[in-house]
């Protein structure tokens, strides 16, 4: 069911412009203290604000936004999301033993008062200033609307350096709770040669909120990052996340994203193998129902030979939900002997559900092995009958098949994700409880 139809216009231009202006006002940067030097962040922020004012919200006539309505976005009150008084572990999701959990609200310093494990440290301010934005430039995604929006709003960067093997899995948790408003979060992760880290990002929201995430991760030679994003929202909440990663030769990236329940969720993994010869494994699952929109736009580019990509993107769509997958893979002349596979598998649970799956392979090099495919299916009647013939009720059988469909992705999340019961979180109307 690949559709070429244009989406209806998302919102009257004036309303979206007014919304954007109000958001920018709410996030007006405070004047720097006298004598304080302007670091990289304020400079970029100011430029991004000007740029946003000029361009407004992305119009649906833009190819990258053709299928993605922004109506849920401008329903979010244009204000700073209030930081709740108490931030503690939810009793039903205590951190896994041995895992380090950081709470991330865009206001307070997540590292304050924390003992960081060996190998993990705060990146020095000078380095932060010089490195901020470099991965985006390498990826060529500085002009992405998600990047610009976050850059215009975020007043802080969580900047981390990884040296050697960090044995403790790291969890970054942002829970907007019932709060209304906008929360910008920005992460800069610098992984040195041979560094290794398991990182799980958890995003939750139950109110009328917008979480904007911008991640830049730089992997030096032989660095290994296992990176999971588990995002559970509700009808009125939105999540926009741009995840840019640059990979040096012999580095390994294993990125798994799992998102469900959001009125609007858009994820933009942008992975660049700067000299090829690296391994990239992407796993994605998005679940949408009611009138929810789940959108994943990925970009993988090989700028040298012998790179590898293994990408599997899945979607479960029910009711009048909508799922968009746009997967760009760029293999220029220099990227000989690249091996890339991309597969999109979609499960439709209703007649009104809609899937747009668009592979976009740009292959210039001639000695490469690149494959892609997309399937759209329903629950298989023979599988359902087999389970029912063993005493499982129709609903239970369908649920088991759904779990099985999703498990292939969810099993790739970093281990600490199991604490968040990802299958329950994404497949049930878990929030509000």
């Amino acid at each position: 069911m690949v559709s070429l139809a244009m989406s209806p216009v998302t919102a009257p231009g004036s309303a979206s412009t007014a919304w954007l202006e109000s958001v920018l006002k709410a996030f007006e940067p405070s004047l720097p203290a006298p004598g304080a030097s302007l670091g990289g962040l304020p400079r970029r922020r100011s430029a991004a604000r000007d740029e946003l004012r000029r361009t407004g919200l992305p119009p649906t006539r833009q190819e990258a936004w053709r299928f993605t309505s922004l109506a849920p976005l401008i329903a979010v009150p244009p204000q700073v999301l209030p930081v709740p008084e108490l931030l503690g572990p939810k009793p039903d999701h205590p951190p896994a033993s041995g895992a380090l959990r950081l709470y991330w609200d865009g206001d307070r310093d997540p590292l304050a008062g924390m003992d960081l494990p060996e190998g993990l440290s705060r990146l020095e301010t000078g380095l932060q200033d010089s490195l901020l934005g470099t991965v985006l430039e390498v990826a060529g995604t500085t002009g992405s609307w998600l990047v610009r929006f976050n850059t215009a709003l975020a007043g802080q960067v969580l900047a981390l350096r990884v040296r050697g093997n960090v044995a403790v899995p790291l969890e970054l948790v942002s829970d907007c709770g019932q709060g209304s408003g906008v929360r910008p979060l920005r992460l800069l992760l610098v992984m040195e040669e041979d560094a290794s880290l398991d990182l799980l990002e958890v995003h939750r929201a139950a109110g009328t909120s917008l979480t904007s995430v911008l991640v830049e991760a730089q992997l030096a030679p032989r660095a290994r990052l296992r990176y999971g994003v588990l995002a559970q929202g509700t009808e009125s909440s939105c999540l926009l996340a741009h995840l840019a990663v640059s990979q040096a030769p012999a580095s390994e990236l294993d990125l798994t994203t799992a998102a469900g329940g959001w009125g609007l969720v858009r994820l933009e993994p942008a992975i660049i193998q700067v000299q090829g010869s690296a391994a990239t494994r992407l796993r994605g699952l998005q679940v949408s129902r009611d009138r929810q929109i789940a959108d994943l736009h990925s970009l993988v580019r090989f700028e040298g030979p012998n790179g590898q990509l293994d990408q599997l993107q899945k979607a479960v769509v029910d009711d009048a939900g909508r799922s968009v997958f746009h997967g760009a893979v760029q293999v220029p002349q220099a990227a000989q002997r690249t091996s890339a596979s991309q597969l999109s598998r979609n499960l439709l649970l209703s007649d009104r559900a809609r899937v747009d799956a668009i592979p976009q392979l740009e292959i210039v090099a001639d000695d490469v092995r690149c494959t892609h495919g997309a399937t759209v299916t329903r629950l298989q009647q023979e599988e359902l009958f087999y389970l029912r013939s063993r005493g499982l009720g129709a609903d239970q059988a369908a649920r088991l098949l759904l779990d099985g469909f999703c498990d292939e992705i969810l099993a790739s999340l970093p281990k600490s994700a199991s604490r968040w019961e990802p299958a329950n979180a994404l497949l049930r109307q878990a929030l509000p409880r």
Binding site: Y386, S389, R390, G393, L400, F405
Partner: protein, 272 residues
């Protein structure tokens, strides 16, 4: 084991069924009593597999006439899962592969559904593992298969063993085994047959659907039925299977031709 006074578990009377507009079953009569083993043989397209799937409640088939009573109650009124919980089991000719669904979890859920229906208690994970490890011996199955997805990547023989393992766990009163011997080598056939023999008790009955005598060398039937054109044409003891092996099915066609509905049925046979 034939006991004329044993309770009737399954009674099929004048069963007619279609798939789409196509009539497949045209008046099947069959009675299964506790303790009995029945074999149904017949050519491809004779309706054997339709009969087995229909009894399990497959939604593709529509019953147009006749009755099926299970322990006196209307079986056809029950959903597939209700039939399973009540004790009707179908061993599939082609067991379905279900990626991502753990075999162990599937077996546990199925076993507990049956136990609850029998008035027993659900087994927790540990108690179930004890039970399943004991039942694995029935089919000499490697416990490693429990950790895999349901039937995924199993060889033909492994799939059939997994079916008999399910039979061992679900403790059915009526077990219908649809071509359980297909795709099995000699060793696997012996293991699976030995498992079935172990599970046959005076309280349950087994309906074997098969093409070949070789299964019946391992599992001795009390009755052999020959099916053609959607009906049971002949019923006799185990010697009937030997005669089929020797003479083929042509003489069944002769019997069919001499029957009252010869013309219509022969046409249907060709189509089927």
């Amino acid at each position: 084991m034939i006991r004329p006074d044993a309770p009737v578990l399954l009674e099929i009377r004048n069963l007619h069924a279609t798939v789409g507009d196509q009539p497949i079953l045209k008046g099947v009569d069959l009675t299964l009593r506790a303790g009995e083993i029945h074999a149904v043989m017949g050519r491809n397209g004779s309706g054997k597999s339709t009969l087995s799937k229909l009894l399990a409640g497959h939604p593709a088939y529509t019953v147009t006439a006749g009755t099926v009573r299970y322990r006196g109650d209307d079986l056809l009124a029950l959903a597939p899962e209700e039939r399973a919980r009540a004790g009707v089991f179908l061993g599939f000719q082609y067991p379905v592969e279900i990626p991502g669904v753990s075999n162990l979890e599937f077996l546990r859920v199925a076993t507990n559904a049956r136990r609850l229906a029998q008035g027993g208690e659900e087994l927790d994970t540990f108690a179930f593992e004890d039970l399943v490890c004991e039942r694995l011996k029935v089919v000499q199955m490697d416990p490693a298969f429990l950790e895999r997805s349901v039937n995924e990547g199993f060889s033909g023989g492994e799939k059939k063993r997994n079916e008999i393992l399910q039979m061992a766990l679900l403790d059915p009163l009526v077990a219908i085994l649809d071509e359980t011997d297909s795709g099995l080598d000699i060793d696997a056939l012996r293991i699976v047959s030995a498992g079935v023999n172990q599970l046959a008790t005076p309280d349950n009955c087994i309906l074997l659907i098969t093409h070949y005598q070789r299964l019946l060398d391992e599992i001795t039937p009390d009755f052999v039925h020959v099916m053609a054109a959607g009906r049971i044409l002949r019923t006799a003891g185990k010697e009937l299977a030997l005669e089929l092996e020797r003479r083929g099915y042509d003489w069944v066609d002769e019997g069919l031709a001499s029957s009252d509905h010869a013309e219509a049925d022969a046409t249907a046979l060709e189509v089927a």
